[in-house]
Subunit: 584 residues, 2 copies
């Protein structure tokens, strides 16, 4: 029997468009003789729909669209679709008004519905905000008999062999194996419940966002579960960028021995077919796409997808960004070029009297390497204009942060003017290290619709650029970037500087980036205390300085654009800190 | 027996300072012969601590600080303190790692701890993100015997009368009465459980944020519960502004007949004492502070508190804001003056060639009424500077949104320069109607550390100003604002305009504000669909325009400063919408 995974890229809230994607995949699958098609979690509305779910008419539209989709699907095919359904008992028994649901569509109708049992409410996830937990094990049976014949409510006929019992889980339902994690996160383990009941195949419909190393972790966990329960697992993941979250796809199948038998492509939509042996009751074969090769390749692909989808889903064809001649804007320009094509990227050089000659030369060399258009707008005239305008208030004060920020905000204003005038999306280019310590100007270089590398620490910015220059990007057809040096050597080797006053370099204000980034990782991703970080060998003055800077920059991060999440703790929807606060 | 409520204003994360506040209140209460003192929910760390709770060392510090506080408290007094404790069974049994806890401190020690049972996870609340629900009813007994003698673990001696059994609930634990609400939100009702067990007194430690009408609702609910269970209720609420949330205090006590016997002040810290009659087992008397009189008075006091606390808790003494001569900045200036005093408010006038003469005159008249300092910085020179700088790109294009936004961003840059130079907090002045439809400039008039009226619809901005001018502010000692006309008549009566091009008025782009605000209320606060709103008599073109504008402005709201919440649905931590989205 052929099973398939449609690794789709939905647009949040676009029920009609998303249903069409499912229908298109179903038609292809049916033509290839597939019996059961999996789509990702909440495939009808896209994940995460967030507070769209608070609108009852949105939930009603999902029911209507689902029924319409069921009626249009090829009759030979059973399809598992992710949707949201009302909790009929909420008002009387208490509980959240909705369930995160999988609908089994077959023969023109919704045959069964299954409720998600484990609801992630941590990091970027807010499922307890909307959903009630399902309390029952979820399964259905594919029985012997003619195709398209629907049997009892809980089974339908597809195959001439003995019935196949399929256990249905939704994303988090699979993430509570106390053997694998060494702890429990939830009281129940839906997988163990299904194994106790005895199922021939486990399916999981997911929307699991990318972070570095996540796919390795997922596959290790799935392998462990397949082996532990001696049951094959078919895992369908969502694809695509949705605001700060990037879903990497990489849907995968393991046989009952825990061997991988199929993997969909990473960072691209896909439709993969895998064979289920009805005699041996096991997944036997499928195509195995390679996993991304190395950390830099993974992050690169994630960021390219994130930029492409944010632009597309927000309706932008072209992007604009400031090119400072520094490494951050160089990397973002390269990512944008790979995502959208060189013709759709506009670089703006905005030198000031404090800019060094190499900044302009380096930025132009980069633009030439990428093949993108640039314009140069000098900001000295505007700086003088602000000086004149503010003179009644500022005369007699010393040049300082205020004047540095004015420069950055002039650039931010020019970039937004261009974005507004031509309908381009402005990309902001700040890295995670800057965002963490507040080494960035609110309403200046932080301006933009999307913060492309705000979850990429400075040291990783360097390693990504080195990787890019090493030619390992290969022939994967990423935009117009070909297999040669992209980032001019001088950009890689000069000391980082904001160039907001003469001779300024980042290390005037900050610890060296290798030290800073390690401390930041301990603070942000590992929630270490000052004493723990000092115990790792760092100087207490430096540690306390960094902790204070991170706490004090919260007001800036609050007003930052959405930033693409590529680590396990980003400054985005999963970072919820008070501003008016006294911690350090 | 005397019971007391310390209606405290904690700083989030400031464990030492908050413990000191509790200690100070306890000393006063002990001196007045109080036996039991209540403090608000999470009084040790302040509510909401948000992701500070993810740092294990923060939770450890709370235990240390709590033990220290217990050792310092007057020995005659029992104190209920809100804190966070680890869930010892989390790793083995599954579940969140923490409990939202009340500690009963007496005789130098933590005598008992009680876990919150109902965890709000909606609107601004994220408690399921951190906490596990308590599963047991919470109570303790005050027994006959000498003061300071501690009896069994679950009781201690305070009174010569028969034991008094006190049921302990934490905030949401009280908010699930199916009779009062006509529905259940949670499966269990901790109040009903306690009533079944039989308690002589119910206490509730809360951190219930203000929204319009909330206190009336709280009191109606408490009254209902007191009567239903024929049990007196003592309700302690937090006070103070914490980022977007304003806690209004208004702690209150009801006797077993549902009659109010005590009310603490609204929008101010307080320490109130209420007598418990040990024979009749009822609350009998206390002082009853007046509830705020009318909607405008409530909102005014909330906003004044919100500004004062945000400034104070972030370490700002002075604020700066742009004075356009319009009604929004006039209201914000008045609020800031009431909050911080006229000497601490700086108004900046930034007229352009498109500004009308009355704008400057009106702004100056307002500043004179308030007694605040102003400076005037003309932006025409900078506008010309941007035109010159952008000419290579913009020549041949028509004046439009890009040019309008440049003006707003010049002003935003000037205001931030002044804020940065002198260490002032910039207040942004946009109202909720603008924020809803995006009639505001990102990085321009949206700039600021705090959006004072971003949850106040334009029609309410008018009614607040009219109320202010009516002299009903009274003698409550709000800053330097005295009992006379504050907002110049011309500001109240001229048509609203952004003055970003000649002759522009808001109603060129938007429906009249009374229509717009009602549609917005239906969309935002009531989650109505387009067809529901049309059924209320609105034109479909207007409704669809508004729905589209609201959806399209999400990217702006994402980057807005925290805005003081005064309605039941604000664009703040309780508003979580996708940006890249296709809904309308």
């Amino acid at each position: 029997m052929k099973l398939a995974i449609a690794q789709l890229n939905p647009i949040i809230g676009d029920l009609t468009g998303n249903a069409q994607q499912i229908l298109d995949a179903a038609k292809i699958a049916a033509a290839r003789g597939v019996s059961l098609l999996l789509t990702p979690e909440l495939s009808l509305c896209g994940y995460p729909p967030r507070d769209l779910l608070l609108n009852p008419s949105f939930v009603e539209s999902m029911a209507t669209t689902l029924a319409q989709l069921a009626s249009e699907l090829p009759p030979s095919l059973a399809v598992l679709v992710g949707t949201v359904t009302p909790n009929p008992h909420a008002l009387v028994a208490g509980g959240k008004p909705l369930f995160n649901t999988i609908a089994l569509l077959k023969s023109g109708k919704v045959q069964q519905i299954f409720y998600k049992r484990l609801l992630p409410t941590y990091d970027v996830f807010d499922e307890n905000r909307y959903f009630e937990s399902g309390h029952e094990s979820n399964s259905f049976t594919i029985e012997d008999g003619g195709i398209g014949e629907v049997g009892a409510k809980e089974s339908f006929s597809l195959s001439p062999h003995s019935p196949i019992k399929i256990g249905v889980t939704i994303c988090e339902d699979l993430w509570n194996d106390e053997e694998f994690w060494g702890k429990r996160s939830y009281q129940v383990n839906p997988l163990a419940d299904l194994a106790r009941e005895g199922v021939d195949l486990l399916v999981n419909l997911s929307a699991s966002p990318y972070s570095l190393g996540k796919q390795k972790l997922r596959e290790a966990m799935l392998q462990h579960s397949a082996k532990r329960y001696q049951t094959p697992i078919l895992y369908a993941n969502q694809l695509g960028g949705n605001d700060d979250l990037i879903f990497d796809g990489s849907s995968v199948a393991f046989n009952s021995a825990g061997e991988i038998v199929c993997r969909a492509r990473a960072f691209e939509t896909d439709l993969v077919i895998v064979e289920f042996d009805e005699v041996r009751k096991d997944l036997v074969s499928g195509s195995i796409a390679p996993a991304p090769d190395g950390e830099e390749a993974q992050i690169w692909q994630a960021l390219v997808l994130g930029v492409r989808d944010y632009g597309k889903k927000c309706g932008f064809k072209k992007v604009v960004l400031g090119l400072s001649g520094g490494i951050d804007s160089a990397l973002v320009a390269a990512i944008a070029t790979a995502a959208l094509g060189a013709d759709n990227v506009l670089g703006i050089l905005m030198p000031s009297p404090y800019s060094s000659a190499h900044s302009i030369a380096d930025a132009l060399a980069l633009a030439q390497n990428l093949g993108i258009e640039t314009h140069t707008l000098r900001i000295g005239d505007l700086m003088a204009g602000y000086d004149r305008t503010l003179a009644p208030l500022f005369t007699g004060t010393e040049f300082g942060i205020a004047e540095e920020n004015i420069q950055s905000r002039i650039r931010g204003n020019l970039l937004m003017a261009i974005a507004n005038k031509f309908g381009y999306l402005l990309l902001s280019t700040g890295n995670k290290s800057e965002m963490a310590v507040g080494y960035c100007t609110l309403y200046g270089d932080m301006n933009g619709g999307l913060a492309v590398i705000s979850d990429v620490p400075k040291t990783r910015v360097y390693s990504l650029c080195q990787w890019l220059n090493s030619g390992r990007l290969g022939n994967e057809g990423m935009g117009n970037i070909s297999n040669r040096q992209i980032i001019p050597e001088n950009i890689l080797h000069k000391p980082p500087s904001a160039e907001l006053k003469p001779g300024q370099v980042d290390q005037d204000s900050l610890p060296p980036y290798d030290i800073l980034d390690d401390i930041l990782y301990r603070v942000i991703n590992q929630h270490q205390s000052a004493s723990q970080i000092m115990a790792a060998g760092y100087d207490s003055t430096v540690v306390n300085q960094v902790l204070r800077l991170v706490a004090r920059a919260e007001f800036k991060r609050k007003q930052a654009p959405p930033g693409l999440k590529v680590t396990d703790c980003a400054f985005g929807t999963g970072w919820r800190m008070p501003i008016a606060c006294r911690r350090y």
